[in-house]
Symmetry: C2
Subunit: 198 residues, 2 copies
């Protein structure tokens, strides 16, 4: 059987680290890359290594070009009194894409998970409380995904915040375009609980 | 809408150049890479840039670590009098994987395509002839894919080789595990033409 050069093996191994890329896909990618110009290969390699220079916003934890992300640096939004708490940068992006939230964000970087050693300190929950108090936030929207850990995280955040603060959790129910027929019992239960006068 | 940092945009753009990777997939990959250690990012970047150092075998055109690939450098194979002509490195690998060919290869790098300006010179067909004559090959297997261009390429190669040389083309017909019911008429026609006494 033919022995492939080390550079090919290295490139295949590198690509299999990407989510959703198995060895066969990585190999197909590398084979196609072998016909690229050197310049293109350098560009791609440099672009991926370049992620090491990625900075995070010192306020909300989102990716940033400098020490503040474009939301926190936005004059129209930086004075907002509404804070949306999310688990991850991708959740933040999903909310931004909906285009209806004009306040500030706070990225937790996960949810409480004692079994994995993720406690309030790891998530910086007291830093979150300080930010809410210092910026005199009036409304905190907990846009944390529904799960046992997510629920516990929301409960903990609520417990360390003053009682008079308006704390809300995003609505759970039937997704738009969804069909009751195919939804799980938990979602249906939530949808029934969260019914609104029509 | 939030503005993403340049490093993220660059990485997404870089990954979309890979075959089968669209913008959404690339973005998902980059988001997951943002949680990698710097060391890992450097490794992946370097592995991809490293493909610029890829060499090709001076004899057959396959990827090589030095100036000869592992097939041409294999003592047991280098004296073979059978040459298998393929279009691409991936076709070569497919044949190697079957494990039944122990001769030498020659990669054309494509097929004749006058409309795209690919003629005998671009494919180095006279270099192929010289190799066949110099190495005193006894058998040439044309493992070129069945297509109008592939057929033309095979016909041209045959026309520039001596009449007494044994030139064969790989068999076409029903693939193993295939079902006549779902095969196209051309394949069925070829399978009938290529029938063998049972």
């Amino acid at each position: 059987m033919i022995q492939l050069p080390e550079v090919i093996k290295n490139a295949v191994e590198a690509l299999t680290r990407l989510p959703g890329v198995g060895e066969k896909t990585a190999f197909r990618m590398v084979l196609s890359m072998t016909s690229w110009r050197a310049q293109e290969l350098e560009t791609v390699g440099a672009a991926l290594s370049g992620l090491t220079r990625l900075q995070v916003c010192s306020e909300c934890g989102m990716f940033a070009d400098g020490h503040r992300c474009s939301v926190c640096a936005d004059d129209a939004r930086s004075s907002s009194r509404t804070l949306c708490v999310v688990e991850s940068a991708s959740d933040l992006l999903a909310i931004e894409k909906s285009g209806h939230f004009r306040g500030l964000y706070h990225i937790l970087g996960g949810v409480l998970n004692p079994l994995l050693g993720v406690g309030p300190d790891e998530l910086g929950l007291h830093k979150l409380r300080d930010r809410i108090m210092d910026r005199e936030m009036e409304e905190v929207i907990l846009a944390v995904n529904p799960s046992v850990e997510g629920d516990a995280t929301c409960a903990y955040v609520k417990s360390i915040l003053p009682d008079n603060l308006r704390i809300e959790r995003i609505g759970f129910g039937v997704p738009i375009g969804g069909s009751l027929e195919y939804l799980d019992p938990m979602t249906i239960t939530k949808a029934l609980e969260n019914r609104k006068r029509f």
